[in-house]
């Protein structure tokens, strides 16, 4: 079973993504900030990550930079899901950038295409 890491500070949105992804046959793990996210990523080696940009403490781009420096993690595809407008270039190497509130089918489609 492919595993997806969800990084978002809003517990309601984490719950939503967990239910949505598990209902569609993925395993999930979650983190509510950048530090936690890196830790969970190292422990679980997820197949894909959804990443919020604006979080308390360090922001999403910082997470991505640290991820990219880790040889074990740098090839994991990242989908940005954020409430910030004009966020397309915040993480240019992300496989996709979705705006909140996002479209469920669009997200599932992108995951399907990108999960290795």
């Amino acid at each position: 079973m492919k595993k997806i890491l969800i990084v978002d500070d809003d517990p309601n949105i984490r719950d939503y993504l967990v239910s949505l992804l598990e209902d569609n046959g993925y395993a999930t793990c979650t983190a509510n900030d950048v530090r936690d996210g890196l830790k969970v990523a190292k422990e679980n080696k997820p197949d894909l990550i959804t990443l919020d940009l604006e979080m308390p403490g360090e922001w999403g781009p910082r997470f991505y930079r640290q991820l990219a420096q880790d040889d074990e993690l740098k090839n994991i595809p990242v989908i940005v899901i954020s409430g910030l407008s004009g966020n397309d270039y915040a993480i240019s190497k992300a496989v996709a950038t979705l705006s909140k509130p996002f479209d469920r089918e669009e997200l599932l489609g992108i995951i399907k295409e990108n999960i290795i």
């Binding site: 500070d9 809003d10 309601n12 949105i13 719950d15 939503y16 993504l17 239910s19 949505l20 209902d23 604006e54 308390p56 409430g83 910030l84 407008s85 705006s99 909140k100 509130p101 996002f102 469920r104």
Partner: protein
């Protein structure tokens, strides 16, 4: 200058002799030998000099000449007469004649008299011209003074020491007639010049400068003004004074402040709104998948989430509406205890969910009070929610979290409510900024409007709000409110945009 002279003399041969003499110097001379001739000549032609022997047939014609002289004040009169009449002529004419010549006339005396008459004519013409100009000037001066006075701006004139040396009517009305005082004392009650002074700049470079200032009138009213300056130069082109024109733009600034803070608010909230909408989507998804799977636990959780999101969105929209629209309070009479119990019950489910204990010290009855129950209740709920959230976020210790409500009537017959928590508390900065517009310590969860509005609503009711807080120890809000509508209420939003200050 070639003068016209009217010569009146009853002795025609003497007259002709004089005419001949005068015409040699290029002067035109007309002769008259009777009163009638004199009057008809005067009527038909302009004369500069009347050379007259005022004794025709032994009778003085002074009264006739006086009439002529009244009609033509510029006409110069030279009297000719015999030695025996000279004294009487002088008595009669006095200063109306510029010269008295004795017959037989000496040519030297006549020449001098003519020259003297010329000078008098020239002087009087000049004086006439000057007085005409002076009248014009006076008229213009009145006009400009009126323009200066009636301009619907504050105009003041200042010298190099920034002392006032004049002001228009509006300036004097609102700032007093304080000639000689310093501009900054009158406008701003300062004891030293303003750091950026457009008047000083204009004295320096002779150009117009502008600034925006807040000035305080005699009555204490503050005005936002756009101040512009212009140099006033003397005849040598040196700037001796500077004119300062201040236009009242208070209303524009208030409107602008309101609009820009509205824009700022919408911008700062959009992230929070998007988060809530996404969570709402999540709730709907969980609800529908829960129904499909027939999973009651999931359905219940989803319903809880949807309810929570609906509440938050409702609250946020109400806050925006409250801020966006200046509204007067709608007073009604409510039961004090009932109101507070409603507030407590509104937050009790949130408290229960987070294992926070609620203690109350509320009397059986405290009578009624006049309030806008919608807004006051919302304000109190906001304070109560803050207390619960302060406990909720106070993690990493084994504290039993408690929120205490206490309600009583104080010595001034005011209704007092204290809401005390033992949550995370606030540092000084948060305490100082907590009532400021758009300040939030909750990240995207807060609008920064809640406490700002709560404070404003309580002030609008004539109430007071105080806060004590220590980081790590907890916070206590205390609200005191009069039972009746205050006589003088503070303005709703749109009129007063200042963030309320911390008591």
């Amino acid at each position: 200058m070639a003068e016209n002279i009217l010569l009146i003399e009853e002795c025609e041969s003497h007259a002709k002799a004089l005419k001949l003499y005068l015409e040699r110097s290029g002067i035109t001379v007309f002769i008259g030998t009777t009163i009638d001739e004199m009057q008809s000549r005067i009527r038909t032609k302009e004369f500069d000099i009347l050379l007259v022997n005022p004794f025709l047939n032994g009778q003085s014609i002074w009264s006739h000449i006086k009439k002529i002289k009244n009609g033509k004040p510029l006409l110069q009169v030279i009297v000719l007469c015999t030695k025996k009449n000279l004294d009487q002529a002088m008595d009669e004419f006095g200063t109306n004649a510029i010269n008295f010549l004795e017959i037989p006339v000496s040519s030297k005396a006549l020449n001098l008299a003519i020259v003297h008459a010329r000078k008098c004519i020239a002087n009087e013409q000049r004086i006439a011209l000057y007085s005409e100009r002076l009248a014009d000037l006076e008229h213009d001066r009145t006009l400009y003074q009126q323009l200066f006075n009636e301009v619907p701006c504050y105009i003041s004139i200042q010298n190099r020491d920034l002392r006032l040396i004049g002001g228009n009517t509006l300036f004097q009305k609102d700032f007093g007639n304080q000639i000689g005082e310093h501009c900054y004392e009158i406008y701003k009650h300062r004891s030293s010049p303003c750091p950026i002074c457009p008047v000083a700049k204009t004295f320096c470079d002779g150009k117009s400068h502008s600034t925006e200032e807040v000035v305080t009138a005699l009555c204490g009213q503050q005005y936002h003004v756009l101040t512009q300056t212009a140099p006033i130069v003397d005849d040598d082109g040196e700037i001796t004074q500077v004119m300062e024109i201040s236009t009242d733009i208070t209303q524009i600034r208030q409107l602008q402040g309101h609009l820009s803070s509205l824009g700022l608010m919408l911008g700062s909230m959009s992230h929070g709104v998007k988060g809530m909408l996404t969570a709402l989507d999540g709730g709907i998804y969980q609800m529908s998948s829960g129904l499909k799977k027939n999973d009651p636990e999931r359905i219940e959780r989803a319903f809880d989430l949807i309810k929570q999101m609906a509440d938050r969105i409702k609250k946020m929209v109400l806050e925006i509406l409250y801020y966006a629209k200046s509204r007067e309070l709608q007073y009604e009479t409510v039961d004090v205890v009932k109101l507070v119990r409603t507030v407590v019950s509104t937050i009790s489910s949130l408290a229960r969910k987070n294992s926070i204990e609620i203690k109350t010290d509320i009397p059986e009855s405290l009578g009624e009070m006049d309030i806008d129950s919608n807004w006051l209740q919302a304000a109190l709920v906001n304070l109560a929610e803050n207390a619960v959230e302060a406990c909720q976020h106070d993690k990493g210790n084994e504290k039993n979290h408690i929120v205490e409500f206490r309600l009583w009537e104080d010595a001034d017959k005011k209704i007092c409510l204290s809401i005390k928590d033992n949550g995370m508390g606030m540092d000084q900065e948060t305490r100082e900024k907590m009532f400021t517009l758009f300040f939030t310590s909750k990240g995207s969860q807060g609008t920064g409007l809640g406490l700002f509005i709560a404070n404003h609503v309580i002030k609008q009711h004539g109430g007071e709000i105080t806060v004590e807080s220590m980081p790590g120890q907890g916070t206590c809000f205390q609200v005191s409110l009069p039972r009746k509508k205050p006589e003088e209420s503070i303005a709703p939003f749109g009129k007063s945009l200042e963030a309320p200050s911390l008591d």
